[in-house]
């Protein structure tokens, strides 16, 4: 009898798997990707941002980003600008939340002021780049609803619809690489009118600590404005042992000075 029940359960679960909806499969993939990147604890990385306008003229920004992984709630991050020189020392501290608005503080080095700012402006561009604030914030599973689209070898395409109505997108089509720890290969962004707005391509992947995949180049192309932004990461430090003490308003002022 016991055997029968177990077999029954096993059969039922198989049936369940095959009956898995595309929504469930999409969510499963997003969770698998999150799972694969779990345990990096903290990181420090330097970043060069190159902004290109439609005539090909470029301008550059240098930043340093510190991230603290948290599992109960969203990650904490601290971003400091090193160039252009007139904004050197400008820094932001962000506490991402899985549900609800993020908490964010800005440090203005010229008058040494720490200012709590609204995180309402998700769709606005980050320092004149083609990256919106929401593209750069911590990607928590809870922030989207999912729909699996297709599998192409090891590549899995999933549609993600932002939960937050303030998002600048109706949907994103995300390509995961199942064989490489569910790392992201490409994201296509559709604007509020459901027209293709931007494409983000990840390249120069490097694996750290035998586990964590980090793309050293991110290339965002805006199809509507013909502008581009390239992010080049260098000197990834995943063994920095940062703690909550490195993500306070005091640490924000120290980093910005």
């Amino acid at each position: 009898m016991k055997k029968l029940i177990i077999t029954g359960i096993a059969l039922f679960s198989i049936a369940l798997v095959s009956a898995q909806t595309n929504e469930e499969r999409g969510l499963e993939i997003a969770k698998a990707a999150e799972e694969a990147d779990l345990g990096f604890e903290s990181s420090i990385v330097d970043l060069k941002m190159t902004l290109k306008n439609k005539n090909g003229q470029t301008s550059e920004r240098l930043l340093t980003t510190k991230t603290l992984e948290l599992t109960e709630d969203g990650d904490k991050s601290l971003i400091v600008f090193n160039s252009p020189k007139d904004v050197k020392g400008t820094a932001t501290l962000t506490f991402t939340h899985k549900v609800g608005s993020d908490d964010q503080w800005l440090f203005l080095p010229s008058i040494k002021r720490v200012k709590r700012i609204s995180s309402n402006n998700k769709s606005g561009p980050f320092v004149g780049s083609e990256f919106a604030y929401e593209d750069l914030s911590s990607q928590e599973v809870e922030k989207y609803s999912y729909k699996f689209l297709e599998a192409n070898g090891s590549l899995l395409l999933v549609e993600q619809d932002p939960v937050d109505p303030k998002s600048g997108y109706t949907r994103r089509i995300v390509t995961y690489n199942k064989d490489k720890g569910y790392r992201l290969e490409k994201v296509e962004f559709y604007d509020r009118k459901n027209a293709l707005l931007k494409t983000l391509t990840y390249s120069d992947y490097k694996q750290y600590n035998g586990k964590f995949w980090r793309a050293l180049t991110l290339h965002m192309v805006n199809h509507q404005s013909k502008k581009e932004t390239i992010l080049k990461f260098s000197g990834y430090n995943l063994g920095a042992n940062l703690s909550e003490d490195d993500f306070t308003q005091t640490a924000l002022q120290r980093a910005g000075k």
Partner: protein, 402 residues
């Protein structure tokens, strides 16, 4: 210049300490030097009210900065200097804005030396901000400060907020415009003429404390300062002469900001108590930002604040019962173009001050800034503001960063 000697010695001893440490360390030491050279032109388009006042003020300023950090950035030495040459002899001045050593360990941090601290949440007036003396010859908005000698000890906890303790061993006197300069009283005030209530004068040992924390959308701070006031007290005698001195004050400050969606609700208030004076003052208001209006990053913020000061017309900042309206426009373009326009109006008289500030980066290492302040219909009953009624001005500045 006595205090500088003390800090120069401190600086030398830290350098010696740093060098000793450098030898044994495997941690890299990073150095960073930066210099800003700014050319400025201020033009006051109405003739001066007082004798000797000029209209045109070309000026040149230098802002060198150096910092060095080690121990993964948890220890650092920081320097920020300032030097300006101006047509007004009193505006030609130099200052050590910053020269301090800092060490952080766990959730503790200590800073030793000359430093700049900012407190406050509102935009039109900065009541709570008291640690540093105002470099009043620099800007009309009072946001430029002199370096303050201090020992600052910070304890930052996640649960109970951040506690800051300040020991302030020396008082800096406020700068005042010279005879040729604008935005002054009829009598030229020499900063060294100002006395103190305290017998210890500038060497009175002062202290301050601040606690700040946040609870969801609420950011809260409470502070207290006990020592030589940063604002001189002006007493006018019957023949119109000014007697001015720095009183010993107790000042308690409260700051609240509520950040709700695109709304920022702000409140800043102080209670100041001295032998010759006791008053409360407050600024309360809001800021709302319409963000990314054009889908291209254009943000338009609107600001409204109410200002109250119990001192009435003797309030040095002239904001006794006024309303401020403003707008902040940020283009979020690659040049970081931004504009801030505003106006302050007295609720009981015709007096109004309008202002405009705009700035933009040119290339990768230049910036251009424009500023205008207009004094309009200044009521004859405004004791302080009356002196500035002809001092509306326009200013353009160009900075190069090295």
């Amino acid at each position: 210049m006595k205090p500088y000697k003390v800090f120069y010695l401190l600086f030398l001893s830290f350098l010696a300490g740093v060098q000793a440490q450098e030898k044994k360390v495997e941690n890299p030491v990073s150095h960073d030097f930066e210099l800003e050279i700014e050319g400025e032109y201020r033009y006051f388009y109405e003739e001066g009210q007082f004798q000797g006042q000029e209209d045109h003020f070309p000026s040149l300023a230098f802002r060198p900065e150096y910092s060095m950090d080690w121990n993964k950035g948890y220890e650092s030495l920081n320097f920020a200097g300032f030097f300006r040459i101006d047509r007004d002899e009193e505006r030609t001045h130099w200052d050590l804005r910053e020269l301090y050593y800092q060490k952080a360990k766990g959730n503790f941090e200590i800073s030793l030396g000359l430093k700049k601290i900012y407190w406050g949440v509102t935009e039109s007036n900065h009541l709570v901000d008291i640690i540093n003396q105002t470099d009043a010859v620099e800007t009309f908005d009072g946001e430029e400060k002199l370096g303050q000698p201090m020992v600052q000890f910070t304890w930052a906890t996640n649960k109970f907020g951040t506690f800051d303790f300040f020991y302030l061993p020396y008082h800096r006197k406020r700068t005042f415009t010279g005879e040729k300069g604008r935005l002054r009283f009829g009598t030229v005030i020499d900063q060294d003429d100002l006395g103190y209530e305290s017998g210890a004068r500038e060497w009175r040992q002062d202290a301050a404390f601040r606690w700040n924390h946040y609870f969801g959308i609420f950011d809260v701070a409470v502070s207290h300062f006990y020592g030589n006031g940063r604002e001189p007290l002006f007493i006018f005698d019957a023949s119109g002469n000014i007697n001015a001195f720095y009183p010993v004050i107790n000042q308690t400050g409260v700051e609240v900001q509520i950040t709700h969606n695109a709304f920022l609700w702000k409140l800043e208030s102080i209670y100041r108590n001295a032998k010759a004076q006791e008053f409360i003052a407050l600024v309360a208001g809001l800021e709302y930002t319409f963000s990314n209006i054009d889908g291209n990053g254009l943000d338009i913020g609107i600001l409204g604040e109410y200002l109250y000061d119990e001192r009435d017309e003797l309030a040095l900042n002239t904001l006794q019962n006024d309303v401020f309206f403003g707008s902040r426009i940020a283009f979020n373009d690659t040049q970081d173009t931004s504009i801030l326009i505003g106006g302050i109006g007295d609720l009981e008289s015709s007096s109004k001050i309008f202002s405009l500030e705009a700035s933009r980066r040119v290339g990768s290492s230049w910036t251009v800034a424009v500023e205008a302040r207009i004094f309009s219909d200044i009521d004859p009953s405004e004791l302080i503001l009356q002196n500035f009624k002809n001092d509306s001005f326009m200013r353009i500045s160009i900075s190069k960063f090295f």
